[in-house]
């Protein structure tokens, strides 16, 4: 008998670790049993920490349960049928409820389990049945929609000390003598995976009455799936050929590994030549990704891996003995931060492209000229009307707000342009602005703007400054009121 079965907890009290999660699950089951509908449970955590055990322990509280795990086909129809049956049996016997366990929902297959996630989502929203789901990867795209409608319970890795204690108990129970450090190594190697720790122990200890450190060699270390940063650290810190090559064995999208290495090269390497050499390798790795992508021949990836790991790793003269904090690529943060701005630019480019027969790129090339043209109010009105820009889009080209005026008729515009002598108008408007600023700062002399507003009327050329004048008058009034309020 497998020890993992033999020593699996028979009730919640025997369950090791994850106290908070345990409490939540028990509470959830109790609520169902007294007839309160609850959200479905989604138990998320690394393998071997007891998610399925949790589900099975909970099942004991209910009268019956059905389980669908990764070995079953789980398409839309099948899931609907199973759940349908479960609810039917409930109505017949009424006294008990059937618990539905869906194991490893993040492992639903794209084609074979077509519609599976959709079916689960539909059922989950109704919450007529107690359902427990488990998943390994909390960030899996398949379960993002599920997470919204479920009560998510996170299970953490089991602490090494807890594993040690548990392994010891097994040894005592089986009558095996052990050396403390053997048990400790086994526990450490398992990396929080209690199931694999028990499995390993069984392999080296079953049928014996004593285990020693020599036995440890029988079970090799589990294929470690390390995270990106471990790999990046090895690449940048080490000069050991085998070690660097080995670091690329990880289950992450390769271009993402490259981005993370790229991000951290200048944080680790200090000499310009090293950065240059490392980046040359990055460039080659990237070229091979491009080739793999465009030819759909992913055998090119092996070259990319060598360039970005060994190439970058061996680009340093000496290993640096310093602490560098590694970070994720800033590109992803930039992309999400600038999303709305880029969307705005796309809309603007589309509007321009449609009217000027230009591609998006061609339209973007017009931006700097449009920015200059927008400084002139008349021209800005024309352009806004011509392209049909909205306020948000106007703001992209000019920080100053465009007053809501009707488009001045053609003749007026022409006149104002031909009459406008740059030196004179500039002078008056500047002067007006200056005075206005003064007004604002001193908060006195409410009469002054009146005189000012009369002035431009005379030369009739500049309705803008007149507008400003009246506006400043208004502002003055408001300011006056507020100041009265203050005293």
């Amino acid at each position: 008998m497998l020890w993992t079965e033999k020593y699996s907890p028979k009730n919640f009290n025997e369950f090791i670790g994850n106290l908070k999660a345990k409490k939540e699950v028990i509470e959830w089951a109790e609520q169902w049993l007294i007839g309160n509908l609850q959200k479905c449970l989604l138990i998320v955590g690394p393998p071997g920490t007891g998610k399925t055990t949790f589900a099975h322990l909970t099942a004991k509280e209910f009268s019956d349960f059905v389980e669908l795990n990764a070995s079953d086909k789980r398409s839309y129809d099948i899931i609907k049928r199973i759940v349908g049956e479960a609810s039917a049996s409930r109505s017949l016997f009424h006294d008990g409820m059937k618990l539905i366990i869906l194991d490893e929902v993040d492992g639903l297959h794209g084609t074979d389990d077509r519609g599976g996630i959709k079916a689960i989502n539909e059922i989950v929203k109704k919450t007529h049945h107690p359902i427990i789901m488990t998943a390994n990867d909390p960030y899996s795209k398949r379960i993002t929609s599920l997470k919204r409608n479920c009560k998510v319970i996170k299970i953490r890795k089991v602490h090494t000390n807890s594993i040690v204690a548990f392994l010891k108990r097994i040894c005592v129970n089986e009558g095996i003598e052990f050396e403390e450090h053997v048990i400790k190594t086994l526990a450490k190697r398992s990396n929080g995976d209690l199931r694999s720790a028990i499995g390993d122990l069984q392999v080296i200890a079953q049928g014996k009455d004593q285990i020693s450190s020599a036995d440890l060699d029988i079970v090799s270390q589990k294929d470690q799936v390390s995270n990106v940063f471990d790999s990046v650290r090895t690449v940048l810190k080490s000069k050991n050929f085998a070690k660097i090559k080995d670091s690329m064995r990880l289950d992450v999208n390769p271009p993402f590994i490259l981005e993370t290495i790229v991000e951290n090269i200048p944080h680790e390497y200090e000499k310009a030549e090293e950065i240059e050499r490392a980046y040359e390798m990055v460039s080659l790795a990237d070229i091979n990704f491009g080739r793999a992508f465009s030819t759909r021949n992913y055998t090119y990836w092996k070259y990319s891996f060598d360039f970005m790991s060994l190439g970058v790793g061996l680009a340093k003269d000496e290993t640096y003995k310093k602490f560098a904090r590694y970070r994720g690529s800033s590109v992803y943060a930039m992309l999400s931060k600038s999303r709305s701005k880029r969307a705005l630019m796309d809309i603007i480019a589309q509007k321009i492209g449609n009217r000027l027969h230009l591609s998006k790129r061609g339209a973007i090339a017009q931006f700097p000229y449009l920015k200059i043209m927008f400084t002139d109010d008349d021209m800005a009105y024309e352009l806004v009307n011509y392209f049909g820009f909205e306020n948000k889009e106007v703001k992209f080209f000019r920080s100053k707000k465009l007053k809501k005026l009707k488009k001045p008729s053609k003749s007026v515009r022409k006149q104002s342009r031909s009459v406008k002598k740059p030196s004179e108008t500039n002078f008056t408007s500047k002067k007006a602005q200056k005075v206005m600023k003064k007004d604002k700062t001193t908060k006195t002399a409410p009469k002054k703007p009146k005189i000012l507003s009369k002035k431009p009327k005379k030369d009739k050329t500049n309705e803008k400054s007149e507008n400003k004048g009246s506006k400043s008058k208004k502002k003055d009034k408001v300011e006056k009121q507020t100041s009265l309020f203050h005293f």
Partner: protein, 346 residues
């Protein structure tokens, strides 16, 4: 006779509607306001215009391909040709598929098919205009080639591109290729003077010459500079033009290069990412700008001559890598490292 034919009837309705819209000519960008409406107005492409006029005379045309740099009149020639050859109802018989529209295989197929299925109304045939064909994928180009074969009787294609070499051979062999060249000084001057007169702006001779200099044979750029200068003052002088050109020129690339030359790789890289990721500048545009800035800096002697040649070697190499399908941002970051070891000349 149209009454029996619902499709023809709807087309007539469209004709009535669009003609109404035609009525109000708006101002706005001068590049559009002063876009030549007829073939005669087009400047600087005399030999091409001559041949296009022959098609008008004969009342038929083969599939055409216009290749050449930006702002030399490819789109203008296509629009003007369509207008004259199709006559009064050109709008109804002319389909423009802009590069800013989605142009995957499916859209190309359905749009063109739907358009070509209908008989030309009020015109001898229909014209489909596709610009920047060289930016379409190979697959989309192959799809296009089939469409070109299927509707030879009812429709003609005008394709435009920057480089005809990027277009698959079967398409090239189905087209009469016209190579537009960048517009010579006198052509640009002629057009600038027409616009200035119509807009009643004062444009002195030095100003014209400097616009011609900065436009580099690109008439769209020339008119953009003119309108931008006009927005700052009614009298345009050489200084206005300089001001506008320096304002419109992207400065970030220069700053980025200087940072790299100073050895501040992280700063340069952040700026590169800002320009490409946030502002959405394409890799191709970036490498062109980098090339231009580096040559300008060599002229100003802020980069040493030996270093200049080495840098150009790298720029050319990375340009090729990007075109080969690598990730432009990563390649340009790699290119930036080449500046680190080059000292700024004092």
């Amino acid at each position: 006779m149209y009454l029996n034919n619902p499709i023809a009837l709807t087309q007539i309705l469209i004709i009535i509607r669009t003609n109404k819209n035609n009525g109000d000519q708006m101002n706005g960008p001068w590049v559009e306001k002063y876009r030549p409406r007829s073939l005669d107005e087009i400047v600087g492409q005399d030999h091409i215009v001559k041949r296009l006029k022959r098609y008008v005379k004969e009342g038929s045309m083969p599939n055409l391909m216009f290749s050449g740099p930006a702002g030399v009149g490819k789109t203008t020639a296509a629009l003007a040709l369509a207008k004259t050859i199709l006559g009064e109802y050109w709008r109804q018989n002319f389909l423009e598929l802009n590069a800013s529209d989605a142009r995957g295989i499916d859209t190309v197929r359905t749009n063109i098919k739907n358009f070509c299925r209908l008989k030309p109304v009020g015109a001898p045939f229909r014209i489909i205009f596709l610009d920047e064909v060289d930016n379409m994928t190979k697959d989309a180009q192959h799809a296009l080639r089939r469409e070109m074969e299927m509707y030879t009787k009812t429709a003609s294609f005008i394709l435009s591109c920057n480089y005809s070499s990027k277009i698959i051979d079967p398409i090239q062999s189905r087209c009469a290729i016209f190579r537009f060249t960048s517009i010579k000084g006198e052509g640009i001057i002629k057009r600038l003077e027409t616009v200035a007169e119509a807009e009643k702006i004062d444009l002195d001779k030095n100003a014209i010459e400097s616009i011609v200099y900065f436009a580099e044979g690109d008439l769209r750029k020339a008119i953009n500079i003119l309108q931008s200068s006009a927005s700052t003052s009614a009298q345009i002088t050489e200084e206005n033009v300089y001001e506008v050109v320096s304002k419109a020129r992207p400065k970030d690339v220069r700053i980025m290069i200087n940072k790299a030359l100073d050895g501040d790789f992280l700063g340069a890289r952040d700026l590169l990412r800002e320009i490409m990721v946030t502002q959405g500048t394409s890799g191709e545009d970036m490498i062109t700008q980098i090339y231009q800035e580096v040559s300008r800096m060599a002229f100003e002697e802020s980069i040493q001559k030996n270093d200049y040649i080495k840098l150009i070697e790298s720029i050319g190499e990375y340009d090729y890598r990007i075109r080969e399908g690598a990730n432009p941002r990563i390649q340009l970051e790699a290119l930036l490292t080449k500046f680190l070891s080059k000292a700024k000349a004092e």
